[in-house]
Subunit: 790 residues, 2 copies
């Protein structure tokens, strides 16, 4: 007897037992048949190819044998929400489409034009994404508003008004929020009023943000990168990259950043760029209709997002390659690069940083570093790793608490409380009052002669100054005050960020992490600098740091610290270093950055393997098959497949003896999301419905036949429903002895949804992506039931 | 009856027909068994796992069921020369090794240390490769020799002697070859003598180079990149990356470059770096014994090579990723980056360019470019594409002629003739007489006030000079002379390079290609500059190029032209742009570079799909499965597999009824390189030999049994040889209906050597990598027999 296997989604929840099968071993239709039958089997016509292009597994495009599915039925070949796509099938479909266009292009000029425009549509799409992402960078309303236009930030606003750079804080067009209401007073009363206004503005902004997110686009919260990673790996979350998410996220991002919460806009910008990419996909059939092609576009959009966020196009592409993307062929690399560049240049033409620079934090260091300085750099790396691991653990613990306790029911209250605490703690300390990116800029800055900030209040000795280069100097009182304030700011940032990331507002992690690292780095840098100044006769300094020399650049330490902390949290490596390299523009400083990033990653990995994004993916139970980790357990396919040893046998559809009613019973009485070996659930339902409507003589007792050659029936029986066209004739199979490491590799590299397990050519069972993920979780001593979706 | 399938290498050359099989359909042992047998089959013990770690397909490591193969036999699991490796098997072996070390690490401190050192050996290896590759950059002896040390180049030599930069040509330590013999004379006689000496030195150098290559290391010729690509894709060429190749290639590279031939040392440097990597692999068991792990190291070494060649570490990593590597996991990305950086900094600490710069051609442009300039940039792109396509066609045609006619028998004569022609043509023109990299430097250079070169002989108008920025000026007579000479140099380079690349000396393509482009670019740049100067009132110039403004930078045109030509020849994209970006260090000029590189690639691709490296791979018949090209034909697995429809049936080894003699007869009477479904040819031979020596009672008539449970034999018969341990119990299978596009994808992504084709669970045939390559060639209307190796 021929039998078709069905997918096993939710197998444990109860399996439908086939009425017809009682053998221990079943056979795969189209892939397995028992020996005695084989001789009677009609000879297979090799030139036949009678399968329409939407078949799973990608059958040939010609349609000589079609029974009734001449045209693809609408809905066949689509996926349900929160389901995994089949990469092999999607790619096959695109190749079929491409083949068809290419073959038609010889017929007419119009078709040729269509073929050419199809080939260039990818590039056009990249251009549009770059333009849109570059334009889409939201302004920063934290301190106040620019009367010349609310979309200008402070620097840009004042740069427009042609005042000199040193007076940039006092240009008339720029009004701080308190100024707008109260005017700029002096004394204790004005201070208290400003304090109050600061807290009230912060609460207003955050309230508005959380209400907008809650009311209009719940997907707009968080950084979005974990979900984008999951989507790019082949998962469907409808609306996550939709227009509402785009609009609401852009607006609430501005509000959230302006409310002074400890969050950044870089991660959410990646989400916004991906929304742009997804929406623009709708302009082109090629990308609208194919989930795999669309993911190529989204990878490029993510690159463009980072390019806009940091002004680092190459770093953006590498970020997309290393951190976000799953399927990243070389063609996508090239296109991502194009999109990232266009985005960067669009951004530059708007000139948001007011200094005609592309990058977010432009730094120029003059002095080389000494090999011995690697010791403090590695210390910063260790700090970054520890911070990263600590942050991930605490944040995940807090988020799990939010998910499981009553806390999660009051998102608005939570946001307001955290905002209030942040604002109250932040205002008294000037380093927490200023926006985080300004803080980082100031920390990265190498003190020049004219710098008036407190961090540059050194005891000047103009005798030893040569040109622009300042020697190491003794710290003045301003520096000591700044050190205390920075230390307090560090403690506050460390703790408040844990509670901020994961709230129901858009919140990025890059900037807060970098701030923590930059503060720690600057503190260490100044300490080393003073040590070198007062003790330049110590053996460790002799030979490279004599009196009056400029040996230590505290700004570089801040930068290295920022890289280390960002690396500890996200576990980025190459892309992190390249982004930082693009900020400084000098190859000189790659080695310190790399030493810190590597140390940080090793330290953090030793404490916990997962980066923050992977941890959040696991927290949410998304089906993400990590491509970076090696699966190294010695289990075999038979240990993972369903049914297990003592389970009831596999639910099957037989090949040519079941009636329409039988199949409908199976479909309605099981919760399995698909029958992927043969045909997806949707395809099966649509095909039967369609046949009932359009094909004469199909009733509930009609026998469904999945073979080419249907067995002769008695003349009185109703006409046969032939469904071979929706049959997957090339299912992926492995033997039961196949080691799971190979099975995992196959799932990863080919992007499978399911795989059949055979023994001696006969079907034993099935392994789905969910089974694989559960097995991996089990092997890592994690709860396998945390994998929620299929 | 159970039957094992054998590999089909050289199927057409004559197939050995099994004496036992006359069924049409055979079954795969371990994967297929007929239905009636299945019931009698002893129940499969799921906990058994009795297969040693070197089994193909990677069985579990425990050894409870071992018959005699307690220890891996020496030689089992190795590959023969000019054969393809099985990535799945190699990766399985490494995972087994890793598992063993990890499990042992809990036993003792020593084992723990071993485990830690094993984990860090990859990084240590990268460090060593970086150091060695950075040191290994050979000097340039073309013009003369540095008396302070022959390894210094001209600039470096004079930089050491503390003379000022403008006098750099006249430092006493530097002696040109003619000076060394003749002294520096004036007048016609001295000119002729110098001419003669130039030609004689060139002939001497090239003769020495070709004799060394021919005598000691035939693999040292060419650029090596096509072969490295093939090796990285999983092919074995013994000695190609050996120590002799390293030594001879380094020496002959210096000689070949010094002989004035139109070749560069950048490609060969990649080969040299890979040799270093391969040799260093021998220090670590992990990399010495595993072909897949070793290829990870080689990918990183290639990155380090480019990093050293251009001083572009990020570009080097991307070059390795985009152009050279096949299997490039993220871990390798990170390590490659490390190796490339170490190499770059080792290089810098030696300071070869004498200017404390890392990069080969340091350029600093001051003026932004105008959008309208994209028109000439795109023209340069078209030129680059045309040159690339023309070069590839002519060079391949010439190389094919060399292979097939008597020409190939006289490599020494060929080199001498080409050298003589090059030297005779080059000497009279100063732009061909200078070394090609100096020429490119000069062409990239933006003329300053103090530049004394002929290319900068403009009519100076000091009234309009503002600071360092020079306005566009009228060209003086020097520029016009230079234009003529450059045009002649261009024609010469274009033609002579075609005959040079592929000779029996080390020869890189990067520098000659860049020179062609740089000359063309500079010519166009000066033309546009003069046009803008004399016709600044034309509408196209109005608005951005008024009189006295500095609008056009001819050096930038040279750079764009160089990128375009290099792109046309190699079809590099992202890595090309990033390398160029690292040379200039400014994001500004990425857009022109990208426009030119993209145009060049499109134009060249329209004429011929293959880059020069792929063309040479195909010319040599290497089995390289291109990962970039989509396979888009609608053939199915059954159209590709052997045996074809009317072929004799598959040669098989039966599962438990063949005697040692029978198997030995099959092995000796067929030329098939392996029996990969079951076991490689080597493993089979070694196992039988070993069993004959060590196991009692194994004679020629002993029955070989590949099953767990051997059928009972009459007591008089000799003892059974159990070979289940060398059996691959998890062969990859596809159904006969599987579209070839999916099969190609599986081969590419999993790195398979062969795949079984089944119909209804029964073995129909086999597809090897060679079959796939032949099929792809056939579909592209190429000769399938050009694929030579398996």
């Amino acid at each position: 007897m021929e039998a078709l296997a069905m997918d096993q989604k939710g197998y444990r929840r109860g399996s439908f037992q086939s009425a017809t099968s009682d053998e221990d071993m079943l056979e795969i239709a189209g892939a397995s048949m028992d020996f005695s039958m084989a001789d009677d089997d009609p000879p297979l016509d090799r030139e036949m190819g009678g399968f329409s292009s939407y078949n799973g597994g990608g059958m040939n495009g010609t349609s000589t044998m079609m029974d009734f599915l001449e045209e693809p039925l609408p809905g066949v070949g689509t996926y349900e929400d929160f389901n995994t796509i089949d990469w092999v099938r999607e790619k096959s479909r695109d190749r079929d489409r491409h083949r068809e266009i290419t073959s038609r292009s010889k017929e007419s000029t119009w078709a040729l034009l269509h073929s050419v425009s199809d080939a260039f549509s990818g590039w056009l799409l990249m251009l549009l994404i770059g333009l849109l992402a570059g334009e889409g960078k939201p302004p920063d309303l934290k301190e106040g508003v620019c009367l010349a236009g609310f979309w200008f930030n402070h620097e840009h606003c004042c740069w427009k008004s042609n005042t000199t750079f040193t007076d940039r804080d006092k240009c008339p067009e720029w009004k701080s929020w308190s100024q707008l209401i109260l005017g700029h007073g002096e004394g204790a009363f004005a201070y208290i009023l400003n304090y109050l206004m600061y807290v009230i503005w912060a609460l207003m902004f955050s309230l508005l943000a959380v209400l907008l997110v809650k009311g209009f686009a719940p997907y707009a919260c968080g950084s979005g990168i974990p979900e984008i990673k999951t989507i790019l790996s082949g998962f469907i979350i409808r609306g996550y990259l939709g227009k509402w998410t785009l609009v609401i996220k852009t607006i609430t991002l501005v509000l959230a950043v302006s409310s002074g919460l400890s969050l950044g806009k870089e991660g959410p910008l990646v989400h916004v760029a991906c929304c742009c990419g997804n929406i623009l996909c709708h302009l082109f059939t090629k990308y609208r209709k194919n989930e795999a092609k669309r993911r190529e576009v989204l990878s490029a959009a993510a690159a463009a997002g980072v390019s806009v966020a940091f002004g680092a196009p190459i770093g953006g592409v590498l970020f997309s390659l290393e951190e976000v993307s799953y399927y990243f062929p070389l063609k996508t690399l090239w296109r991502s690069f194009f999109a990232a560049l266009v985005a960067a240049f669009t951004l530059r033409s708007i000139n948001p940083f007011g200094n005609s620079r592309l990058v977010l934090f432009y730094v120029e260091f003059h002095m080389p570093w000494h090999l011995l300085e690697l010791v403090p750099f590695i210390l910063l790396g260790i700090f970054g790793g520890l911070w990263g691991a600590f942050f991930i653990r605490s944040n995940i613990a807090w988020c799990r608490r939010r998910k499981t306790t009553r806390l999660g029911k009051y998102p608005v209250l939570e946001v307001l409380v955290v905002t209030a605490i942040t604002a109250i703690l932040a205002f008294p300390n000037e380093y927490t009052r200023m926006s985080t990116s300004e803080l980082i800029s100031e920390l990265f800055n190498d003190c020049g002669i004219l710098d008036s900030s407190k961090l540059c209040e050194y005891v000047n000795d103009f005798n030893s100054t040569k040109g622009d280069d300042l020697p190491d100097r003794a710290a003045g009182p301003g520096v000591y005050t700044a050190m205390w304030q920075l230390a307090l700011a560090l403690i506050m940032k460390v703790f408040i960020t844990i509670f901020t990331f994961g709230m129901k507002v858009p919140s990025g992690l890059f900037i807060p992490s970098m701030a923590v690292g930059a503060i720690a780095g600057r503190l260490l840098g100044v300490a080393v600098e003073q040590l070198a100044f007062y003790h330049h006769d110590w053996p460790i300094f002799s030979g490279w740091c004599s009196q009056g020399a400029d040996c230590i650049t505290p700004g570089l330490y801040a930068m290295v610290g920022a890289a280390a902390c960002l690396g500890g949290v996200t576990r980025m490596t190459v892309s992190l270093v390249v982004i930082m390299f693009e900020l400084t523009g000098g190859l000189e400083y790659i080695v310190p950055l790399m030493a810190a990033a590597m140390t940080s990653k090793w330290v953090a990995d030793a404490i916990g393997r997962e980066g923050i994004y992977d941890a959040h993916i696991r927290l949410n139970g998304y089906p993400f098959l990590e491509a970076k980790e090696e699966f190294s357990h010695k289990t075999r396919a038979m240990d993972v497949m369903r049914p297990r040893k003592n389970d009831p046998p596999l639910t099957v559809i037989t090949q040519d003896s079941m009636s329409v009613e039988d199949v409908e019973t199976i479909v309605s009485s099981t919760t399995y999301s698909g029958y992927p070996v043969v045909v997806s659930r949707t395809d099966l339902i649509i095909s039967i419905e369609n046949a009932r409507k359009k094909q004469d003589g199909i009733v509930s007792t009609s026998v469904i036949c999945f073979t080419d050659y249907c067995p002769p029936l008695p003349p009185s029986s109703p006409s046969v429903l032939k469904l071979r066209s929706i049959l997957d004739l090339s299912p992926f199979t492995v033997t039961d002895e196949t080691p799971m490491e190979i099975v995992v590799d196959i799932f990863r590299k080919l992007g499978l949804r399911q795989c059949l397990v055979t023994h001696n050519g006969k079907l034993l069972g099935i392994i789905t992506k969910k089974d694989v993920l559960k097995h991996i979780a089990q092997m890592a001593n994690q709860d396998p039931d945390s994998i929620l979706f299929n």
